[in-house]
Every structure is written in C-alpha cells, then in structure tokens.
Symmetry: C2
Subunit: 399 residues, 2 copies
C-alpha cells in the first residue's frame, strides 16, 4: 500500500477520534535517594545495593484520598520523561506525550502520573555509569546484574516515598510491560489495576537471541574496554549495531514495505558499491548513530539481560501459580503484527488470569505498526486505555 493510501486510511480511521491536544506543560525531573544504609536493597542476584538514586517525574495532582496514582514504566530505551516538556521551546516532548496529558487517555487532569527511570538506567537513576562506592570509578560491569523484579522493588520504594499506599494503575509496554506484569504479583496489595501492553510472561528464544546478538556487538567493540569506556571513546559501533537490530524487531515486515520499500537513494540506479543505498539502510544508519549520543552501552547490556531473565514460569513453577498471587484487575493488549512479543504470549497471560479467577480483559489490536504501535498515534489503543482506566477509577476503591 502506498504511503498516501495509508494516510487516507488513517484519516478515515480517526474521523471520530479527537485526541487531547493539550500538553502536560513543563515537568520538573526530581531525584530521590532510597535504600540507604542499613536498608540497602537485596537484589535477585543476592547482592545488596544502596543508596539508590531515583530520577522521576510526576504529572497531575495526587488527590486527598491518594487513590488516583498511575505508575507508568518505560521500555528499553525510555526514561522518566513520559510527557510534557522540560523547558519551554524543547523540540521533543516526553516519550508517551501522545497518551499522557490533560484530556489525553491517561488524563493528568484526573490522575497523578508517576514515571521513574528504571534501576540500571542511564537517565538519572543509579546505574553502571555511576561511581562504585568501593572504587570511586564508574561501576561498569561490576554493577550487579539487575532483574525486572529489582526494578519493581525500587519503584515500590519510590511509591512509599511519595506516600502512596496503593496505585490505581500500573502500566507500560515492552520491558515496561514486563515490569507492569510483575508488580501485582510482587505487591498484590499495592496495585488495583494493571495494563500490560505488548509484553510477555517470558521472552521467546528468538527475542533472547536478538538481545544476545546486540550484547555481543557491544562487548565486541574494541572501545568497550571491558565496560570501562567512560571518559574515553565510546563503543559506538557496537551499540549502533545493537540498536539497528532492535529497530527491525520493533517494526513489522508489512510496515517496512510501505515505509521504505526498495527505494534507492539515487533514483538513477544502483551505485555498485557498499554505501548505504536502500532507504532502509540510511534509516538504520541514522537510528544507530542517533542512539549512541543518548544511551549508555552498559545500561543496554543490563536492561536486555533483565528482559531475558524475566520468567514468571521459572520463578513460580507455572504461570497460574504466578497469576494466582495477584489481586489486581488486568487489561492485556497485544498487536497483530508484533513479532517481538507475539500475541500468543499475551493470550498465555490472559488464559492464566482467567484460569485463576482474575478479572482480566484482552485486546489484540489490528495494526501494521508492529511492536512499536504502543508508542504511536493509535486511536483504538488510546480509547481502550482511556476506557479501562476511567472504569478502574470508578470501580476500584484503592483504600
């Protein structure tokens, strides 16, 4: 389908849909230090970590009942800046600005939205680029391996700090969806409803393979220097390759056909050399190069490893045993062309929820945007999130 046809289809699709257009405005990032001695966090790996600095942002107002808090969790390369701007005139809004703001599906006029940078990250929360107290040098690969569960524990400490006993909702997509899914299992009394988007109870071997190849590219980069590259040349080439692989897995084959086709840079014909000629090649070069400017290669290693390890079946014996621990209501969303977190994985979650008597609903949304769909203009997803969340607020008394 040609790009113009797509646009027409999109326009038709959106004829009855008016997204909130107001921005959440200027949002101030905040830092808080948690898990200080003697209350260091005991990680899944057995090591203790603390104090832990957490970068977070909030939007909207916590009501007096403290029952309107929505925790949003970012994906592999996201951060705490979920919506709005950091300063007037910023060229870029937060990563889920399309979903979060006044009048938007996650409506900051109604809800108190919290988003924090995940443990091990590179956007303000303690991670491998921070100094190792034992040496004064950056942690690098001496930073402990962290898991999805460890990330959730840190978020729980943040929620404590904010004086919130029970979240109205926890949500996220991809790695954020894995964490959202872990929340009501780890802290059944602390979350009323859960929206799991484009996620899985455990990664498929194919998804592990992509992560493993990406990590391999990073550690093979001669500038990786065993993870101690801070202050020196960065492992740019390896990290760019990891990002390129990632990008292809976020797009559907269908979308790549209409987005890139087989268009050559030079319409006159092939250059007959090894330059990046096809449109998809220049796209990959651009994505790879842009990414290395903003992301830490070590955080990429730690986050993908956390994704790989996450396995509710291995941890609880069966998926039913995992889900039986939750008392949350659930919305599970998958996308028909998501081949990184295929729909069958969402159905596995939903079936386990139904078998264990949980209140769960499931939407497999038709789209050709693939895994990335949760980040894009996608009216049907937005209506579903709005509907579920507003109903949650009515039904779920969090106290």
């Amino acid at each position: 389908m040609a790009e113009t046809d797509r646009q027409t289809e999109a326009a038709k699709f959106e004829a009855d849909y008016t997204p909130g257009s107001a921005s959440a405005g200027i949002v101030q990032p905040r830092d808080v230090t948690l898990a200080g001695p003697p209350d260091e966090l005991t990680l899944s790996c057995g090591r203790r970590l603390g104090p832990i600095r957490v970068r977070y942002e909030t939007l909207g107002t916590l009501n007096e009942a403290r029952d309107n808090a929505v925790l949003i969790i970012h994906a592999l390369t996201g951060d705490a800046h979920v919506a709005g701007l950091h300063a007037a005139g910023d060229a870029k809004t937060g990563w889920w600005d399309i979903m979060v703001g006044p009048g938007k599906p996650i409506d900051t006029d109604k809800y108190f939205v919290i988003c924090s940078n995940c443990l091990g990250g590179c956007s303000g929360t303690t991670g491998p680029a921070d100094p190792n107290p034992a040496t004064g040098r950056p942690w690098g690969l001496d930073f402990p391996i962290i898991t999805v569960e460890d990330m959730v524990h840190v978020q729980r400490l943040l929620i404590d700090h904010l004086g919130i006993e029970k979240l109205l909702c926890v949500t996220g997509g991809s790695l954020g969806g894995q964490q959202a899914l872990a929340w009501p299992i780890l802290y059944p009394d602390r979350v009323a409803t859960t929206m799991v988007i484009a996620a899985a109870a455990r990664l498929s071997p194919q998804a592990i393979a992509w992560n493993a190849i990406g990590r391999n590219a990073i550690v093979s980069d001669p500038d990786f220097n065993g993870g101690q590259f801070y202050g020196g040349p960065l492992p740019r080439r390896g990290l760019a390759i990891a990002r390129m692989i990632g990008h292809i897995t976020y797009l559907s084959e269908e979308k790549m056909r209409w987005k890139f086709g087989r268009q050559l840079r030079n319409a006159a014909g092939p250059a007959y050399d090894f330059s990046s000629e096809f449109e998809v090649e220049t796209y990959l070069d651009h994505q790879g190069n842009r990414f290395v400017e903003r992301f830490d290669a070590n955080s990429y290693l730690y986050f993908t490893k956390a994704m790989d390890y996450f396995d509710l079946v291995a941890q609880h014996g069966t998926l039913d045993a995992a889900m039986a621990r939750a008392s949350s209501r659930f919305l599970v969303v998958s996308f028909t062309t998501d081949w990184l977190f295929p729909a069958y994985q969402s159905r596995e979650i939903v079936n386990a929820l139904i078998r264990t008597g949980k209140r769960a609903t499931y939407a497999n949304l038709k789209t050709d945007h693939g895994h990335d769909a949760f980040l894009l203009e996608f009216p049907e997803l937005h209506r579903i999130v709005r509907g579920f969340l507003d109903e949650s607020a009515k039904q779920c008394r969090v106290r």
Copy 2:
C-alpha cells in the same frame, strides 16, 4: 512441543518414505578458467572481469543426448561441494547430500549434476580474496560489485565449457533460488525447467536490513582494515555477528521454541552475569565461531549485496515483463514458516508466471523449520523435487 514428540511426529511422517541412502561417493573438485582475454565478462556494474577461475563439481554421467544436466546453485554460504565426499572418511558430506545422490530425489544414476562456487565466493571461484592482477595484492573491496545476473553469466560460461546446450533443470534455494529464477529469464533457450526454492523476485526491506546490519558489523570490525585483512588478523567478531543474525533469520520462531526453549546452561538457575547462559546463546556463539573458520568476510559482503540488488521488477519494469522472457517450466516452493523469504513472495512469482501463460506449479510446504527447511530431511519436499524432475525428464526434450 517437546523434542521427543517432534521425533515421533517425524517418524510417523516418514513411515511411507525411504530416502535414498547411497552416497554419491568421492567427488573430485575441478577448476576451469573462463572469460579470459579478450572475452572478459562485462559485469552489471559495467566493469570487465577476467580471466575467471570457476571451481565446480559434477556427479553422475552426461548422457549422449546431453539432455540430463541439472545445475544446482548454492546459497549464501554454500560451495561447489553439493553431495558426496571429497575423500574417504570425510566427516562431512556436501551441503545437499540429502537431496543429491544415487536413488535420491536428484538422482545421480539418472542425472548429470553440476554445482559451481558462485562468482565472488571464497571456495575456489574468483573472488575478493584472489590477487588483483593490477596490484598483485588480494582484491579486497577493489573487487567489482557482482550481481545475481553476473553469477548466472559465469555459470552459463561453465555450461558452454561442459558442452551442454540446454539444461534439463536449474535449481537452488535462497540466493541459489534467486539465481535459478534469473536463469530462464537471461537464457530462455538454455534451460528447460526451473525449480525455485525459498526465494523471491526481490528481497523485502526487512531482509535487506538484516544483510545491511551484518555488513555493518563486518566493516565495523577494527580488523576489517578496509577489506585488506588477508595475512593479518581476520574480522572475526564482525563476521560472527553477521552469521548470528543470519542464523536467526533461517529459523522459525516456532522451531527456536522447541529447539532451544529457555533452557539455561546451568539448571540450578541464572548465573547473574553476562556469560552465554541460554541454550540459544551458546548455539549462536558456536555458529558464529565456526563460520569465521571457513568463510571470507569480503565474500559475505559481496554475496549479501548481490541478494539485495536482485530485483526483477526494477530490471524489467514489471514482474510479468520479466517472466514473459522465460520459456522454462517452473516449480516454485515456499515454506509456511519461512519469514526471510515469505510465501507471499513465491506467490508473486507464480502469479506472474500464470498471467504470462507459463507452465508453473507451486507448493507452499507446511513445516516449522523456517527458511532452512530446504537443506533438511524433509520428505514432502524430496517427493516433490523427485516428481517434478522425473516428469521434466519425460516431458522436456531439451534438444
């Protein structure tokens, strides 16, 4: 499905199937020098190349009518050694031994089988590791860019050399299938029947992307040295990453689930470090390391670029215009779980053949082996190849 269930299913499937078990025996590789001056080959890029050394092997006997010749073309990492052994006691047979030999589907008791290493390769045919006559040094990246069509032209020179006016059949899978498809379009009078397996008239943008990322990994390796790595350290890490990416695209997601699952090397639990723990990781490490022992990184660049460039639509205006040139009969085969060369691409070829009045038949074979299925024990594929080829021999008088 567990591995044992699969085996039971396979056993059942094969109950009525007896593959030929006899080996083609010892096969002698041969070299011939073609396109010597003043008859150098004019390549698609406009440059002239010659003399060209071609490594090839033959099995069976060319009959007196010279009408029983079958040209088999290898895929990305194959070579001229299609079946049999090079020496008694060899641990490894040729790459399509399962398909080619006495009593096998491509029966060397009936057919004269030819297989040559493709132009630009690293297994005996002229390629980037050979000396550039202008400098005496290995060509490296000064070797001209070659196309699928160039490879076919060299095969045609070999067929001339062997005194064969018309091939009974030309066949191959993947890159070999692209060449097989190009043959009857370039040389309609020289081929009676064509078997195109797991191939496409043009690569999808997703498939181009995987090739591009693999090339990027190779040229980013500091040991690549602009392609002049011969005699020095090889770009092992980059080539291994390219191979790992390739391997995942050759397997279906389904097969990876039952082949690897989420099995950890240590059953006691996670190691909580960045070692290769999941079975799929050790598989990738092994495949990557093994590949760099046997394949030239520059040939990988040239072959993947040839795959990317191949585009019958761009070359002929429409697929119909391309197919209209052929006078061959066609068998087109795809595999249900092949996501690198998806079945829709085979249907595009077949539909164009039907529209242009060609004799074409199509099989979309159900398998969970993905793109690799053409290389494996696959009774239904073997029956189909045997049936089509034997019928071809009856119907198609090549003279």
